[in-house]
Symmetry: C2
DNA sequence: TATATATATCGCAATATTACGATATTGAAT
DNA sequence: ATTCAATATCGTAATATTGCGATATATATA
């Protein structure tokens, strides 16, 4: 017990849920917003901005990278992170398909 | 350690993240999709549909209720669950504000 | 080459989540 | 009143997540 039974769901449900799960942490939302506003940033900027330990920021960046929503490229001794436009647009589409569906009038409530 | 430092984020970031967190589980995505398709359902329908224990489904329903996205009303000896339209629309707006923002061209990647 | 800077990774402790059996609780039917 | 059916809640075991210090790695600079 304690482990999500992914095998009983549709691939699409697992995929959407895992994207949402990664986004479901305030640090990762804050990181995305910062990158979007600044266009790009390095890990240390986020350490200062958010006040979390460097190891913690690095871990959150890794999770965001794992779903492809950000990308890092080495620039001298630092790593420049920015939004991966293609993935961002794919996510927009995926989320819109789910969230922007019309919900019919309640039958019971 | 082990606990999310909500105090260092903006209220909006915490709120958005906690909504996404609740949605970031395939069972809850599946439950929402089932309710949307069927217009409404009772807990036992979901137990049969998903094959999770009744206690587990009940717990997921509780979490969905906690963010207000579904609502349950007693109907005889069962409880009829359906989407709370107002909340659903609020969420649409909230998610669209975040996800449908335009992301500028990469500076480094 | 030595040192400083930036990031990634490891290992760990604290906490949270997931799933489920057992057990209430509540209303319907007999 | 008793039984059945549907749901909620409690307690618990297994697992996952969060955050951080310590350390490794890699590049720039003196």
């Amino acid at each position: 017990m304690g482990v999500t039974k992914t095998e009983i769901y549709k691939d699409e449900q697992n995929k959407l849920a895992s994207l949402l799960k990664v986004l479901g942490h305030p640090a990762r939302i804050a990181i995305l917003q910062y990158i979007i506003n600044q266009k790009a940033c390095i890990c240390n900027d986020l350490v200062e901005e958010l006040g979390l330990a460097q190891a913690t920021i690095s871990q959150h960046l890794k999770e965001l990278k794992s779903i492809g929503i950000i990308q890092g490229s080495i620039e001298g001794k630092s790593v420049c992170y920015c939004i991966e436009e293609k993935a961002w647009k794919d996510f927009q589409e995926e989320f819109n398909t789910f969230f922007n569906q019309d919900v019919k009038v309640n039958q019971c409530c």
